[in-house]
């Protein structure tokens, strides 16, 4: 099992994970900044992280989820700082033997991220 977590202010460039023997399913999720927040047009969101804890919590969570669903690897990138509209705030790639566990890890991770990972949208830049 391979878990990688990266929190950075750099633009997220989704890259295909290295091919792993036995993997038949690759599921990804990209969360992008929409042009409005709470009904108001915006040009960007600003994200802040308690970085060491966010990385640790995500890593622990992914180890738990990947083991429970027998996934081969999970790669997570979360951007912080200013993220302009249309750009990715988060990108996740899950590799598994079959699609059902890959989908399960993706959905469960996103749910838990939004409960337990210390990352915040702290501001919006209005349009």
């Amino acid at each position: 099992m391979r878990i990688e977590v990266l929190i950075s202010s750099a633009v997220i460039i989704p890259t295909a994970p290295p091919a792993v023997s036995g993997v038949g399913a690759i599921a990804t999720f990209t969360g992008t900044v929409r042009g409005e927040e709470n009904g108001h047009p915006i040009t960007a969101l600003v994200y802040e992280a308690y970085q060491p804890m966010a990385e640790t919590v995500m890593h622990r969570l992914l180890v738990e989820l990947a083991a429970a669903h027998s996934c081969h690897s999970v790669f997570v990138q979360h951007r912080i700082g200013v993220v302009p509209v249309g750009e990715a705030a988060i990108h996740i790639t899950v590799q598994a033997r079959h699609r059902a566990p890959a989908f399960a890890v993706l959905a469960a991770f996103m749910d838990r991220l939004k409960q337990d990972v210390p990352i915040w949208k702290t501001d919006t830049l209005p349009a």
């Binding site: 308690y50 060491p52 640790t56 919590v57 705030a89 988060i90 990972v117 210390p118 915040w120 949208k121």
Partner: protein, 79 residues
């Protein structure tokens, strides 16, 4: 003890971290009392926020030692 403030908590306190003197271990409740004496406006975050130490959320019954680094974690909104 050192307290770290993020996001809305930092906007309320105006600082990202500060030292709070304590001679003995504190319960979470006593710790919050100390925070609220300094920053009464943090009361708005009290029920929704959690405390963390060593990159993990604190159990409700944990004691906070005089040299601990404690992070105040307001409701998260990543992704």
């Amino acid at each position: 003890m050192t307290v770290l403030y993020f996001a809305h908590a930092r906007r309320i306190t105006g600082v990202s971290q500060e030292e709070i003197p304590a001679d003995v271990p504190l319960s979470s409740g006593d710790f919050w009392e100390k925070l609220l004496q300094r920053h009464p406006a943090l009361a708005a975050l009290r029920t929704s926020s959690r405390l963390a130490r060593c990159n993990d959320f604190l159990p409700a019954d944990a004691l906070i030692g005089p040299t601990d680094e404690i992070a105040l974690i307001p409701p998260v909104s990543g992704g």
